[in-house]
Symmetry: none
Subunit: 436 residues, 2 copies
């Protein structure tokens, strides 16, 4: 029994990254299913039909993403109709769901969107809560099929990942669960403060030892992005207890090797972890940003519930606003410049005082592409942290583009905050020990 | 003549993003070549052979990435041999290149790597300066081929992007350049203020008329993302003047149909266009954000040179900071709430006054996931704009997640700014006319 994926969309052939194949490939693995083929094909009905016919001849589960929109280049419905020999019929149910979506949005339904209500005869509709294109599930008897086992299931899903992903979870996953004979579990650890090679060196022995124990069942991935290193470990096996034990052991060894450079697991982000620590310690935060222009506060407030600890942010892009809002002294700006340790200190202190927050983060730097000098090159960033003691400043030279430098600077500031809050956690213990 | 790509590697079926298909798809476009199919297939010799045979039956240029490594699961060589009926032979040239690579690295060559020196009989070696796997170019006469034109070129390239990309540039691109008899040019238009279907309805007639004129030479794509609709039009042809003329005509017709909903072309973004207009009119800007938490100022400052017009931003997440920094009255907050037209007005006015900037944008809303009420549901956002006249406020209900709502609100604010600046442009003309 083969499983395959067909992704329709000319943009995917012209350079756009195909994230649907990555998402679906990974999710199928959870049910012990493996894709045998992923075929990307353009908005061309003949190519789509040829691809569908081939898929029907060799696979039992076929997922198709894309081409369900309302426009002229959305051809999946027509191609499936041609490949299966089934008619397209207007579904009253689909039409009223689409109409209801437009009513909720308070806009009139364009005539075009009626196209999306046409379904393959006999198909089951798959609800799309986030878009107008309903999905479809079609059970196709294969031409050469002798019994029900030779049937193929075709899932038609929309292309936009935001619509496709929840539909996959709600409408496709329940069908796949019954194929689940192998268990696959995984965890991800996120690391800040060590480069990819340094992480690799520290965990390589663990990885190699585990690989020897279980040849095909363990997979490791290391990915680096904007100073963050992600580690993903997956274990497959028939016995859930053994799978859990193996994952548990590997995770423990990774924690031993990487220590508090690991900032979180799975869906944790630097901002969610730092936010959790702020909640725990009942501390409020203010930010003062120059080169990141609001990226840091944007990240912090992307976490639901951040209003409990985030009071406000100052985006002091001009020198004038640094003086006026944060009380940075003109002398400091003249003598040391806006990108300097001294300015970072005064920005953090000033923001904390002006807002009344417990803790303050400041960022000032040269994001580029121009504005760099030999003394202060593009990528030079100062991150300041103000708490109860003296302000701490971190000076870093980030490589990369303007976007990279800003992203890395904001991540660095979040990590500075995280480590400062973790120190607050360990300090009381140290005190207790010293009293003995 | 079709062009297709085959990517070998089980990891690409299990969740790893396929960046090779994105890279090659984009690069082929430079030579007027379009991929018709991308097939990803696992490290399975039967599946690979089947995929290769299908490709040989329909395509003239076939690029294969992956499966050239030294290990047991690298099967591309064997599969190409089986699909073409050509023998694998040991290449002394390849073997010494591999051996030399190990000498340079100062390590002994493992026995495994000898496998990489086997090439398809008659293949030309393609040098791999960054890895051990040499590439291969194989010219295959098709079974049914009557003349040389029916031959297919197979390019075998290694899978790791760091090795593949330089090899593509040095070894594959020169061959592709000779196909560049067709010229391909394209433009992108970006639209704000109309939904995907509404745009489609307005341009469909233009698209259909052009399609009739030139069946295969014109391609259109419509993509929607966070209230923005992108239109991409490509024209292929042998005569550059005709291609240019056709693009010019289509673009003009699109402008006529969509008017000033089109905010920019090609690499333009809402923030770069609004920034350009600010520069042109020598106006400075301040932002006051609540639910977007700095996303708006982050977008504005992502444009290099934005310090010329962006003075500062207030991220007034708490009510207290709205009062203190922006002078929003406590009465307004108590009577109408933080998410209200009245608060949006006072935020914009207050920010403009506090900063001395010419123009101010404010955003206040319910980003969710919680905090919504029946009166003020999740997604309700007010955008305020303060210039020389009275503050304008826009009330919108955005669908989607917390991230979507924030992105859409920030984009909406940028579009409000853009349209206000465009009005400044047209006003003097109107005045002149009225004087006549």
């Amino acid at each position: 029994m083969k499983t395959e994926l067909i992704c329709a969309g000319t943009e995917l052939l012209e350079g756009k990254l195909n994230t649907n194949s990555s998402y679906i490939g990974e999710r199928l693995g959870w049910y012990g299913l493996e894709l045998s083929f992923v075929t990307t094909v353009g908005d061309n009905i003949a190519d789509l039909e040829q691809t569908l016919k081939l898929a029907l001849s060799r696979s039992s589960i076929i997922i198709i993403t894309g081409g369900l929109g309302p426009t002229f280049d959305d051809l999946t419905r027509e191609a499936v109709s041609a490949a299966t020999g089934r008619k397209l019929v207007l579904s009253r149910e689909a039409l009223s769901a689409i109409a209801a979506m437009f009513v909720r949005r308070g806009i009139e339904m364009p005539k075009n969107n009626e196209r999306q209500a046409y379904v393959i005869e006999g198909a089951k509709l798959l609800a799309n809560p986030l878009g107008t294109a309903p999905g479809q599930l079609v059970a196709v008897e294969k031409a050469a099929g002798k019994d029900k086992k030779d049937n193929a299931l075709l899932f038609l899903l929309p292309g936009p990942p935001k619509e496709m992903q929840p539909m996959f979870e709600r409408e496709v996953a329940p069908y796949l669960k019954k194929y689940e004979s192998m268990i696959k579990k995984s965890f991800a650890l996120h690391v800040f403060g060590l480069g990819e090679s340094a992480v690799d060196e520290k965990i390589r022995k663990i990885v190699e030892a585990e690989r020897k124990l279980d040849a095909g069942g363990v997979s490791f991935t290391i990915l680096a992005r904007q100073m963050i290193v992600d580690l993903v470990v997956s274990v497959r096996g028939k016995d859930e207890m053994l799978v859990d034990e193996m994952l548990h052991n590997i995770k423990n060894e990774f924690y031993e090797a990487l220590g508090e450079n690991i900032y979180g697991e799975d869906k944790a982000t630097l901002e969610s972890v730092a936010g959790g620590l702020l909640m725990k310690h009942r501390k409020t935060l203010v930010t003062a940003e120059s080169c990141t222009g609001g990226l840091l506060s944007q990240k912090i407030t992307s976490v639901p519930g951040s209003s409990f600890y985030f009071k406000q942010g100052f985006v002091t892009y001009s020198n004038e606003s640094k003086v006026k809002e944060l009380g940075v002294s003109e002398e400091t700006l003249n003598k040391f410049g806006a990108v300097s340790e001294e300015t970072a200190i005064e920005m953090a202190e000033g923001a904390r005082k002006a807002s009344g927050a417990d803790l303050a983060l400041s960022i000032t730097g040269v994001a580029g592409p121009s504005g760099g000098t030999s003394q202060k090159p593009v990528g030079l960033v100062y991150v300041g942290f103000s708490g109860s003691g003296p302000v701490k400043v971190f000076k870093i030279n980030f490589p990369g583009s303007r976007t990279d430098i800003r992203e890395r600077a904001a991540n660095q500031a979040l990590d500075v905050l995280r480590r400062a809050l973790m120190e607050m956690e360990t300090k009381p213990e140290l005190k207790r020990k010293s009293r003995k």
